[in-house]
């Protein structure tokens, strides 16, 4: 079955130490070159980079829309754009940020690059499917842009019926675009689950699987179970517009609340698609920079799965005021509180990992600290919203807006940036300017809080979300928030600036600049085209910082006849306990 299992036989295997090269002449970027080699590549690393480029682009597009929305809210009445344009802008901001940026951010961009490296695999299980996933993403994005130019969409990213089935504009093509993007997401999920099951290197048992892989695994499960329901739901909205099928449209005999059930069956789990991979990033970074074994490995690994599962049971908390049965509201509210448990488990274990570690406060860790603070606020306000009585008051106010921005931006975007900084040397072979990185992190943190903390206050005072006009009482809050959003934007621009700058003349990165024990750091920087020149053998867990680095650089010994660089032959018994150098 699994390759990993084969090492549990009693036979002795010959292993050999492979020390990674710092800056090898040949690597994945220069072995095959030219535009065509990129467009047709099946290399997970290049596909990851293409995803990275695409999501960065859409992050900036979505960001500009956000700034336009915030600028419009500077004054209570019209500031500089029409109300209708405003509606389209916040819709596109939401839809782009969620479907085109956040969902693929960590899994499809960073995950694609790192997952096979962490598994000791040459590629993902289905490389061509991986490329197809990228092109589906681009196609969907293209259709979305087409819709924007051909009438626009003003439904909000949630496409609630009956508004979405009756309003004008390009809703039909837009839902089709999201449908296609959904398939991109599904294919990534299919690929990752299979890869984690089938492509692990010898010795990489489930209890040695890096927590980033666990995070991606849980995410992929959500992707394959939830996304198809979104696909069919959006298809039904499209059919509702074309044929008037009367499933969701009350005018035709349908039930609009049913749409909300189906939509949130996807979209609540989807908020975990947007955070659980971030949890994985946190676990990796926190151990590397505190030089300590992760505290509560299984607790963290299994709580990801628990979150993935419980995430499917709580969707009705978005519908407390929709007219759903009060019995359902009660059950959903109760189940919502349960999500706090596995999330809390994670937070405590991470904190415990830091405890008495030898902490090296490099920029990736700094971003993670930002994550801790912001995600904590985001999560706890979620619990507040999960209580029915409070939510009746807070639903569809800026309180909700602040809540999900704390989890999505404060949580996931921070984790994404942390991961990007952490793996940047491996991906590009360059180091960025560390001082700038820390300053940018500070600016983002401050900008974020200035933007979103006032939103909690005005939300609880009754400022509704998605409104073009507001009463004067809220103006100071809105203005502070708008100022904050520009600070935040500046921070992101800075990150973009120094990361891109590092590509041109940044200091060359060594193979393992952070001294990590994880597998992706035990190969060359930049990695070879097929990742490993040898078949890696895993004997220690990825967080065994108490063991010397040499024990992490092992591979199956090549037959003596072919003269790959040999250093010393090591022999290892099946249970991986004894290692003796010859």
């Amino acid at each position: 079955m699994d390759t990993a299992e084969s090492s549990s036989t009693s036979k002795k295997i010959q292993v050999q130490r492979y020390k990674p090269d710092d800056n090898p002449e040949k690597h994945y970027l220069n072995e095959e070159t030219g535009l065509w080699s990129w467009l047709t590549t099946v290399d997970h690393k290049k596909i990851g980079i293409m995803f990275l480029g695409a999501i960065t682009f859409f992050f900036f597009v979505g960001g500009i829309m956000a700034l336009l929305v915030r600028t419009e809210l500077w004054t209570p009445a019209k500031t500089f754009i029409e109300a209708n344009t405003y509606n389209q802008l916040f819709t596109l901001h939401g839809a782009i940020m969620i479907f085109l940026f956040l969902v693929p951010s960590v899994p499809a961009a960073l995950g694609n690059f790192i997952l096979p490296l962490q598994l000791g695999a040459k590629d993902v299980a289905f490389p061509r499917l991986n490329l197809l996933s990228f092109y589906l993403y681009l196609t969907g994005a293209g259709i979305a842009i087409f819709s924007i130019l051909n009438g626009g969409i003003d439904t909000g990213w949630t496409f609630y019926t009956p508004y979405s089935s009756t309003t004008g504009g390009a809703v039909t093509t837009m839902v089709f675009g999201v449908f296609v993007i959904g398939f991109s997401s599904i294919l990534t999920g299919v690929n990752f689950i299979t890869t984690i099951h089938k492509m692990r290197a010898p010795g990489l048992t489930w209890d040695k699987l890096p927590l980033f892989c666990w995070g991606l695994y849980a995410t992929s499960i959500i992707q394959i179970l939830a996304t198809p329901v979104l696909a069919i739901t959006l298809a039904l909205v499209g059919m509702e517009r074309i044929l008037g099928i009367g499933i969701f449209d009350p005018a035709m005999g349908g039930d609009p609340v049913l749409f909300q059930h189906f939509f949130w069956f996807y979209s609540h789990p989807a908020v975990y698609i947007m955070i659980v991979p971030g949890f994985g990033v946190v676990s990796e970074i926190i151990t590397t920079f505190s030089r300590k074994h992760i505290f509560g490995y299984w607790a963290i690994a299994l709580s990801s799965l628990a979150i993935a599962f419980i995430g499917f049971l709580v969707w009705g908390h978005h519908m407390f005021v929709s007219g759903q049965a009060s019995l359902a509201s009660m059950v959903f509210s109760f189940l919502t509180f349960l999500v706090g448990i596995p999330t809390g488990i994670k937070m405590f274990n991470w904190t415990a990992t830091l405890y008495k570690g030898s902490i090296d406060l490099k920029s990736p860790l700094l971003y993670i600290f930002g994550f801790f603070f912001l995600f904590l606020v985001g999560g706890l306000t979620g619990i507040v919203l999960g209580s029915i009585a409070l939510d009746v008051h807070l639903h569809d106010t800026y309180y909700v807006v602040a809540h999900f921005h704390f989890v999505m931006v404060g949580g996931m975007v921070m984790a994404f940036l942390a991961g990007l900084h952490y793996w940047w040397p491996k991906i590009t072979g360059r180091m960025y300017n560390e001082t700038m990185a820390k300053i940018a992190c500070g600016i983002i943190f401050v900008g974020f809080n200035v933007t979103f903390l006032p939103q909690f206050v005005m939300g609880s005072q009754g400022m509704p979300r998605r409104y073009f006009n507001y009463i004067e009482q809220f103006q100071p809050f809105h203005q502070v928030s708008t100022i904050g959003s520009f600070i935040l934007g500046l921070g992101f621009l800075m990150v973009f600036y120094y990361l891109v700058k590092s590509l041109f003349g940044g200091q060359k990165a060594t193979a393992n600049p952070w001294g990590s024990r994880a597998m992706e750091w035990q190969i060359n920087t930049r990695p070879p085209l097929h990742n490993f020149h040898h078949i890696p053998v895993i004997i220690n867990g990825p967080y065994d910082y108490h063991k010397p680095m040499e024990e992490f650089q092992l591979g199956l010994a090549e037959s003596p006849t072919d003269g790959h660089g040999q250093e010393s032959d090591l022999e290892v018994t099946s249970d991986g306990k004894e290692i003796n150098a010859e």
Partner: protein, 100 residues
Amino acid sequence: MSGHHISTDKTLLGVAAALLMLTILTVGVNYIHIPAPWNIITAMGIAVVKAGLVALFFMNLYWDERFNSILLVAGLAFFGLLVGLTLLDTLFRANVMPAF
């Protein structure tokens, strides 16, 4: 893991025959008008048996890695969640179609 299972003609034809019989059965039962809800329960019961036969012997789950069966069951279980929690609302609403 074991190698690939090769089904004999006997198994395959046997399963197909069983499926055929069950199809005839379910149509036949339909004509004797069992009172609700037992009519739908029998019909679904027969369908589940048929689907089970296809999954176990045509799709080879009977001989296959257990994980693939787990996948199938998980898919059905989450479908169950979708239906179950939705019914928790739709069956217990004060007004079937909320007014607005």
